[in-house]
């Protein structure tokens, strides 16, 4: 079994490229990839900062070709498909232990644009759930993700990476303070009603902001959030009027093209008497056209800009990241051990099946000669089963224990030779077919 991961992130790809790869509905994409015979299991992760496809395969060479074609041709929309020259430097490919470790690092927020930010764990969980729902995530990737979630929890508990995280909301507030004297008399306009908007609103509120307006495509969701934060809820149709009153605009909403164009913003500014307008666009694809930053009184920051801000503070968190990396490595090695132990399963299963087949065959022969039945038969069944179990217990336990060590694989091989498990003519071999069918 091999793990393969192909993806791009804020480290390798520009926002412009990433937004062409934003996958709105993960279900169909998972189904499409999992339908390939070379792919056993798969999970697709799509956030504003990364798009990654993880697959489990028995045929890595064929799966790699399929994975590449999927990422290059099927994942982006037809009109947004980048050229190979543009795409190639942005892609990274990891396999086996490296891929597993990467999944752990992502879930722990070590690889995040804003290290330690808590949203990524929720996004990874969503990606996992989507894969489970479509049936593309099987037992092995499930185990990997469960282990990644518990590692993320451990990292959060045992390090101060979370405390030192600089969330998007915090960066937004810090930047707002470079423009505005105080947020108390300012009005914030939040476009969208997702988790990021909720966190940003929480942060803005704690920084003294009093007036907030929430605009969303689904007004009911905006209303629910507005009730919690004593804000007002609006539909997207009201955006031009809302923009005139806003001082801080934070957008994180799905959609195909920019919601706020230079024309819309310029029109709003005409009624604002040149009051500065601070805009943070964390939507992927972008909700605000980048040209808006050219307007004099508008300060527009998108995800890539925020990445630069986060980098500036990287030194403060380096120590916590080192500790988190140690935990990630430890947990990844445990997972590797489990994965290797899986190799012992077919041997153990075959050995048990052979022993059981021999026992049953010998018992039948003996019973026919003795003409015993009823209670006698049950007693003999129990005795023979006990003998087999006791005889096999120690070697099988040893095989399970040792399989993740180097000599463990030699023991596994020895077991197969000594018990002639690969010999189809050996006693009890007829049971192998039935076992495989199970």
């Amino acid at each position: 079994m091999n793990l393969l991961l192909l993806g791009m992130s804020h480290r390798t790809a520009s926002l412009d490229l990433r937004e062409r790869y934003a996958v709105g509905d993960l279900g169909p994409a998972n189904e499409k990839l999992a339908a390939d015979p070379d792919i056993e299991e798969c999970v697709i992760l799509s956030t504003c900062n990364r798009v990654e496809v993880l697959v489990l395969t028995r045929r890595p060479a064929a799966a790699r070709v399929r994975l590449r074609s999927f990422v290059e041709r099927e994942l982006p929309s037809a009109e947004g498909r980048p050229s190979p020259a543009e795409l190639e430097p942005a892609l990274y490919e990891l396999s086996d232990a490296d891929a597993a470790r990467h999944v752990f690092r992502v879930a722990c927020s070590v690889d995040s644009m804003i290290v330690g930010e808590p949203q990524i764990l929720g996004q990874v969980k969503d990606a996992y759930r989507a894969a489970v729902a479509t049936g593309s995530c099987g037992p092995i990737l499930s185990r990997l993700y469960q282990r990644a979630f518990s590692t993320a929890k451990r990292v959060r508990n045992e390090t101060r990476i979370g405390e030192r995280s600089i969330s998007v909301a915090r960066v937004a507030v810090d930047l707002a303070k470079e423009i505005f004297e105080s947020l108390e008399d300012k009005t914030a306009l939040l476009i969208g009603a997702g988790e990021m908007i909720e966190l940003a609103l929480e942060r803005l509120r704690s920084s003294g902001l009093r007036r907030a307006r929430i605009a969303n495509r689904t007004p009911a969701r905006a209303a629910a959030l507005a009730t919690r934060f004593e804000a007002s809820a609006h539909g997207l149709a009201e955006l031009p009027e809302l923009l005139e009153q806003a001082d801080v605009v934070l957008t994180s909403i799905g959609g195909d093209g920019p919601l706020l164009t230079p024309e819309v913003v310029t029109e709003a500014l005409r009624h604002r008497r040149h009051r500065p307008l601070f805009m943070i666009d964390i939507g992927v694809p972008r909700n605000v056209a980048p040209e808006v930053n050219q307007i004099d009184a508008v300060y527009l920051y998108d995800l890539d800009d925020l990445s630069g801000m986060a980098e500036a503070n990287a030194g403060e968190r380096r120590r916590e990241v080192v500790r988190a990396e140690e935990i990630v490595l430890e947990e990844e090695q445990r997972f590797e051990g489990w994965l290797t132990a899986l190799a012992a399963v077919p041997t153990i299963r075959t050995l048990r099946a052979r022993a059981e087949a021999i026992r049953t065959a010998e018992l039948e022969r003996g019973m026919a000669a003795l003409d015993w039945s009823g209670a006698h038969r049950d007693a003999i069944e129990g005795i023979t089963r006990g003998i087999i179990n006791k005889l096999l217990h120690a070697p099988l336990a040893r095989l399970r224990q040792e399989v993740d060590r180097e000599e463990g694989l030699a023991h596994l091989e020895a077991a197969r030779v000594l018990f002639a498990l690969d010999d189809a003519r050996a006693p009890g071999a007829e049971a192998d077919q039935g076992d495989e069918d199970e």
Binding site: E178, E181, S182, H274, Y299, Y301, D305
Partner: protein, 261 residues
């Protein structure tokens, strides 16, 4: 004694300037507070220096350029400290403290020689110099805020945080607006008292000197900036730029004309 206090003032202003610059370079906000405190102490010494000079010579001539510069630096520092009560403008110290130091040093380096008393009108000349110097100093604050506004605006636009210790743009704009309005008013009053002074001494309303004509030109420039800010609804960046340019021209003509005369 007055001279000694002036030297002391210059030393304290220098300390404030150095601390303020270190604060900006190392991005340590507490150093900014120390610099403001030092500037406050400096203005007290400066005031004591003026009082002592007054005791030594009951009518110290403010018409001498070095003394006027010294007075301007004191008023500028004072206006800045007063503005701090209303606006988050601590970061402006990086411009105010060095300017105050330079103004004070200019007075120290020149030889102060009072003009004969009969040359001066005790009332209008003093009013003229006091109001004009105060106006210039306040416009200097507006120009400093404008300059920092332009720098900070560019840094935020270009997504650079090299000047994190600077005041927020909104504060700089407010300082610029208030100082521009007050400064222009003081300068206008200075110009008006100047006319009265000329009228009393020369018997005419306007004298054809370099000082008078260049000051009038600079006054017009500042007037345009003020008008643009309050009436034309010009953008903050444009006004910041205009006020910085206006002050540069004003300072150049006043100092230049002063040096020539």
């Amino acid at each position: 004694m007055g001279l000694l206090f002036h030297q002391l003032t210059a030393a304290v202003y220098l300390l404030a300037a150095v601390v303020a610059v270190i604060g900006v370079v190392t991005r340590k906000t507490p150093l900014g507070r120390v610099a403001v405190l030092a500037l406050g102490v400096g203005t007290l010494f400066h005031f004591c220096g003026f009082c002592l000079l007054h005791l030594e010579d009951p009518r110290p001539s403010m018409t001498s350029l070095p003394m006027a510069l010294s007075f301007m630096s004191w008023i500028g520092a004072l206006v800045y400290l007063v503005l701090l009560f209303a606006v988050r403008g601590q970061g402006l110290i990086v411009i105010v403290a060095p300017a105050a130091f330079l103004g004070c040093v200019a007075a120290l380096l020149s030889r102060y020689s009072p003009r004969p008393v009969e040359e001066l009108h005790p009332l209008w000349s003093h009013f003229h110099v006091l109001l004009s110097s105060a106006g210039l100093a306040t416009l200097g604050i507006a120009a400093g805020a404008g300059l920092l506004y332009v720098i900070h605006h560019r840094a935020i636009k270009r997504k650079r945080r090299v000047v994190r210790t600077l005041p927020p743009l909104e504060s700089l704009d407010r300082v610029n607006t208030i100082a521009l309005g007050v400064g222009f008013l003081l300068l206008t009053l200075g110009l008006f008292t100047g006319i009265l002074w000329v009228h009393e001494t020369e018997g005419m309303l306007w004298e054809a000197s370099i000082h008078a004509s260049t000051t009038l030109g600079a006054w017009l420039l500042c007037g345009i900036a003020t008008f643009a800010r309050f009436s034309l609804d010009l953008g903050a960046r444009q006004v910041a730029f205009l006020s910085a340019t206006g002050f540069a021209v004003l300072a150049f003509v006043v100092v230049g004309a002063g040096a020539l005369s």
